[in-house]
Structure formats: structure tokens, C-alpha cells
């Protein structure tokens, strides 16, 4: 079946549209998280998402409605732990993440063990996205992207030098809280694309790929977004053609793109070393 034929199907259209928005979201936020050395927060919040999905399934409430507020609270909790309990970010993430996983395992056990529903959240199933989830994902993605766009220079300033940003009048405390909430929303939305297990990959890979090539902060965001879209769209089509799990295929695309960017950067450096006047 060719690409044009695939595009006739509603479930593929929804997957591509949802995937594209979430790809851009993960890429732009991912650049900020990687540069602030908060790369593992995606993993930590994904574990909390696991717990919240288990809670949702246990209470027979649509997991997205449970996950978003719980993960947002957990994200703020991580922030408060780093500020008040004199912990570094990785330790705070570990604490909250452990709570999420342990809670999820207990709930799953009380509910009678792991079932297909919980498994699908672990590994994602973007091809099964329904219209309601599509609208929620696009709506929330646009809110998050709008916030990033409107606060772009403040986020840039805080990411480069938080102390200077404060002296410039940037409300760093509030902005840190906003970023924590945006990250939480992004993690929950990304769960549908690549699953809880691989959420952090979609946050990290486009960002680190962009950092191999970008010469400016704005450029890093644009490259990351482009790489992310290629990973998601390309991953969806490849998974359909080869009958591979979609989430994992998307992540593998991301890894190949990172390796390609790394090879390109290395080649440029080598060329510059050998021919300094020309390149």
C-alpha cells in the first residue's frame, strides 16, 4: 500500500496530525529540558503517568483525565523538592518516579494484575487515537506551544543563566513552575504516541540531535522540531509498512537521525581541521 492510500484512512490521518503536534511540543520543550540538565524528568513523570493510568483504569475513569492533574502535581512536587529539600534534580525525580511506579504496581495488583489496557499505555498506540483524544491533544499542544512562544526570550534567558534572568526581572520562580506544568502535560500527551516506556526518548532525542547542528537557540528549536516531525511521521509509515510497533519505530527513527547528525558534525569538524581556510 502506498503513502497516498494510507492517508485515506481516518485512523492514520488522526495519528499523523496528533503525532505532528506532539512532535513539535516534545522538541521545543526537550531543548529546554536537556540544556537545563533535566533530561530525566520525562522518565520520572512517565513513571508517575503509569501510576495515574493504573488509578484511572482502577476507578474506570478515562486515564487522560486522571493523569494530567496527577502528573502536573507531581511535576510541581519535583520542583519543590529541589528547592526546599536541598536535593538535586535527579534525586527529586527518583523519589517522585518511585512513588508513581510503586503506586501503579500496587493498584494493578489490587485490580487483578496487568492487563492489555495497561500494556497499551506502556508502549503507546498512536494508531488507536480516537477523535476525542485527538482534539484534547491538539488543544493542549497549542496551549503549551503558545506559552513557549510568548515567553520564548524569558525561557531562553533562564535556560542560559537563571541568576542573570532574575536580575533582569524575569519571574524565574513562576516560570519554573509553568515549565514544570508544561512538561507534565507534554509527558501525558506523549504517552499516546510512544508509550510510557519511551516518553523520555521523544523529549531527549530531537533535542540532542539539534544540539549537534544548531548555532543558535532559535535554530536549535527549529531543527529539533523538524527532526521530531520526521521521526514521528516517518516512524508511523515505516511501522505500517513493516508491521513494527509504532512507538518503538518512532524512537528508532529518532536514534538514527541523532547518529546521522553526530556523523555530520564530526565530518564538518574534520573538514574544518584539514582545510581551515576553505571551511
Amino acid at each position: 500500500m502506498g503513502i497516498v492510500e494510507y492517508l485515506q484512512y481516518g485512523f492514520i490521518q488522526r495519528a499523523l496530525l496528533c503525532g505532528a503536534f506532539i512532535a513539535i511540543l516534545c522538541a521545543t520543550l526537550g531543548v529546554v529540558l536537556v540544556l537545563r540538565r533535566f533530561s530525566l524528568i520525562g522518565d520520572g513523570l512517565a513513571h508517575v503517568t503509569f501510576g495515574s493510568v493504573a488509578l484511572g483504569l482502577f476507578l474506570r475513569i478515562y486515564p487522560l483525565y486522571i493523569s494530567i492533574p496527577i502528573v502536573m502535581l507531581s511535576s510541581l512536587g519535583i520542583l519543590k523538592l529541589t528547592q526546599r529539600a536541598r536535593l538535586y534534580g535527579d534525586a527529586a525525580i527518583g523519589i517522585v518516579s518511585s512513588f508513581g511506579i510503586a503506586g501503579g504496581v500496587i493498584l494493578a495488583s489490587v485490580a487483578g494484575g496487568f492487563n492489555v489496557d495497561l500494556f497499551s499505555y506502556l508502549f503507546g498506540n498512536i494508531l488507536a487515537i480516537g477523535p476525542e483524544e485527538l482534539y484534547i491533544s491538539i488543544g493542549l499542544s497549542m496551549v503549551v506551544l503558545a506559552v513557549i512562544f510568548l515567553y520564548f526570550n524569558e525561557i531562553f534567558s533562564m535556560t542560559f543563566d537563571e541568576e542573570f534572568a532574575r536580575v533582569s526581572g524575569v519571574g524565574t520562580e513562576k516560570l519554573n513552575a509553568v515549565l514544570a506544568l508544561l512538561t507534565a502535560i507534554t509527558v501525558v500527551l506523549t504517552m499516546s504516541v510512544v508509550g510510557i516506556m519511551l516518553v523520555s526518548a521523544l523529549l531527549i532525542l530531537p533535542a540532542v540531535t539539534a544540539l549537534q547542528l544548531a548555532r543558535s537557540f532559535r535554530g536549535a528549536m527549529l531543527i529539533a522540531a523538524s527532526v521530531s516531525i520526521v521521526s514521528v511521521i516517518g516512524g508511523i509509515f515505516i511501522s505500517l509498512a513493516l508491521n513494527f510497533p509504532t512507538g518503538a519505530t518512532i524512537v528508532m527513527m529518532g536514534i538514527f537521525l541523532f547518529l546521522a547528525a553526530f556523523a555530520l558534525r564530526t565530518a564538518r569538524q574534520q573538514l574544518h581541521r584539514n582545510h581551515p581556510g576553505i571551511y
Binding site: L35, F156, F160, A165, R166, S168, G169, R215, F217
Partner: protein, 248 residues
């Protein structure tokens, strides 16, 4: 007009006193050299002044307003102490970093305009790094990075410039040029300056006031007063006094 007032400032870190009952008032137009031995509280005093460290006891006023209520950050330019925390792989050009110095004067959504680019280019030119405007920060030497951060502090044309060891990474020629620029800004542009430095030999040539901190305020006043003071001779020895005074 007093641009910075500190009243009975005390600050401790993990119950260890770092600043004890420090009080002073800096007049507009002053160029203050802030000196003291390592660990004397110079950087902490700067951070407390700018609301970057707390809680502390006492009162800080910037341009007559208590620090808690102060919002006019565009009047202040700041260069933090160290480059070591800087990420060498951060994707940003020199121009992008200097532009961040303009955010304090912007209203939401704080976008950089075309006219801002003229100001940015101007300050890069002033510091002799105009040719580096599209260079990635990570590709610059330590001295060049330092000059970019100084440009970031200056681009807003602040009324009060606070610089924490700004010449640490600069070579002697760049240092002389930088001090000369500061002196011109102070004398002709009426920019007030507080400069933290270990370079007690040179500061007397440029600053008009000296503040000596060693947990407490040991001295604050003009250089002439410092140079004539028997108390300063007793405290620091004639040699130190001479080093500071001989070029002033």
C-alpha cells in the same frame, strides 16, 4: 541621590555568618571598588543586594525602593562572578546572549526589535567583539566570553552597573581597555559602578570610592580618606595601603 542603601545587613549560610551588620549608602555617580580577602562576603553582599540570596536581616533599597518592591531592573546591569557554570555546548550566538540584557526594559511578550539590534551591535563594537556577533558562545575563548557577558550587562545602558570580578579572564590589554571604558561610562555617562575585584593595585586608578569587606564593613569612603587613614595602615599595613593608593 542614593542609588543603593544597605542598613544593618546580616546573612548566614548554614548558620555560619557571612555578613554581619553591614551598612552603607552609595551615591549616584560613584565608582566603587569592592575589595576584601577570599571568603570575605563580597559576592554574597552583591547577591543579597540584588535579591539573589536570602533570607537576610536588614534593609536593602535600590533607587530608594525596598528590594522586595523593586521592579525597575532595566536600571541595573549585572555581571555574575564566574564563567565556570556556563555550558560550553549551549547553542547561542554572541548577539543572542547580548540581546538578553535588553529583556529587563521590555514589556510582555519581550521581543527583540530591529532597533535593539543596533544597540547590540553598538555595545559589541564598544568592547571590540563586533566581529564575533554570529559566533557560537562555545567557540569563544574565556576572555571573549567574558566580554560578551559584559556586553550583556551594558547593552541596556544601566544607571547602576554591578560587576563581580569582570576582568578575571581578560588579558592585560583587554583589562586596561575595559577599565578605561568603565571610567568613561562613569565620568561622562553618569553610570554608577560597583566593581568586585581582587586587583587592589589597579582599582585605585579608576574607582573614586573603596569598600573593604571582611564579613563586616571595614571601610567605605573615598580613596583620599583611605590613603590618609592611620586606622587603614594599622589594619592592612603600609604596603597594602601604598599599593592601593599609589596610582590614585
Amino acid at each position: 541621590m542614593k542609588i543603593l542603601e544597605a542598613e544593618h545587613i546580616s546573612f548566614s549560610y548554614n548558620s555560619i555568618p557571612v555578613l554581619e551588620d553591614v551598612s552603607f549608602a552609595i551615591e549616584k555617580g560613584s565608582f566603587v571598588g569592592l575589595v576584601g580577602p577570599n571568603g570575605s562576603g563580597k559576592t554574597t553582599l552583591i547577591k543579597v543586594t540584588l535579591g539573589l540570596a536570602g533570607p537576610f536581616s536588614g534593609v536593602i533599597r535600590l533607587f530608594g525602593q525596598k528590594i522586595d518592591n523593586f521592579r525597575n531592573w532595566s536600571r541595573i546591569g549585572y555581571l555574575p562572578q564566574s564563567l565556570t557554570g556556563l555550558n560550553p555546548y549551549f547553542p547561542s550566538t554572541t548577539r543572542e546572549i547580548v540581546a538578553l540584557g535588553l529583556l529587563s526594559g521590555k514589556r510582555f511578550p519581550k521581543y527583540i526589535s530591529r532597533s535593539d539590534k543596533r544597540d547590540i551591535d553598538g555595545v559589541l563594537d564598544l568592547l571590540g567583539i563586533a566581529g564575533l556577533k554570529d559566533t557560537r558562545m562555545g567557540e569563544l575563548s574565556g576572555g571573549q566570553q567574558q566580554r560578551v557577558l559584559i556586553a550583556r550587562a551594558l547593552v541596556q545602558k544601566p544607571e547602576l552597573l554591578i560587576l563581580d570580578e569582570p576582568t578575571a579572564a581578560l588579558d592585560p590589554e583587554a583589562r586596561e581597555s575595559f577599565f578605561g571604558t568603565l571610567k568613561t561610562l562613569n565620568e561622562t555617562g553618569s553610570t554608577s559602578i560597583i566593581l568586585v575585584t581582587h586587583d587592589i593595585g589597579n582599582i585605585g586608578q579608576y574607582a573614586n570610592h573603596l569598600m573593604w569587606i571582611d564579613r563586616k564593613l571595614i571601610f567605605y569612603g573615598g580613596f583620599d580618606e583611605f590613603c590618609r587613614s592611620d586606622r587603614m595602615t594599622d589594619l592592612f599595613g603600609a604596603n597594602s595601603q601604598h599599593i592601593i593608593c599609589h596610582r590614585h
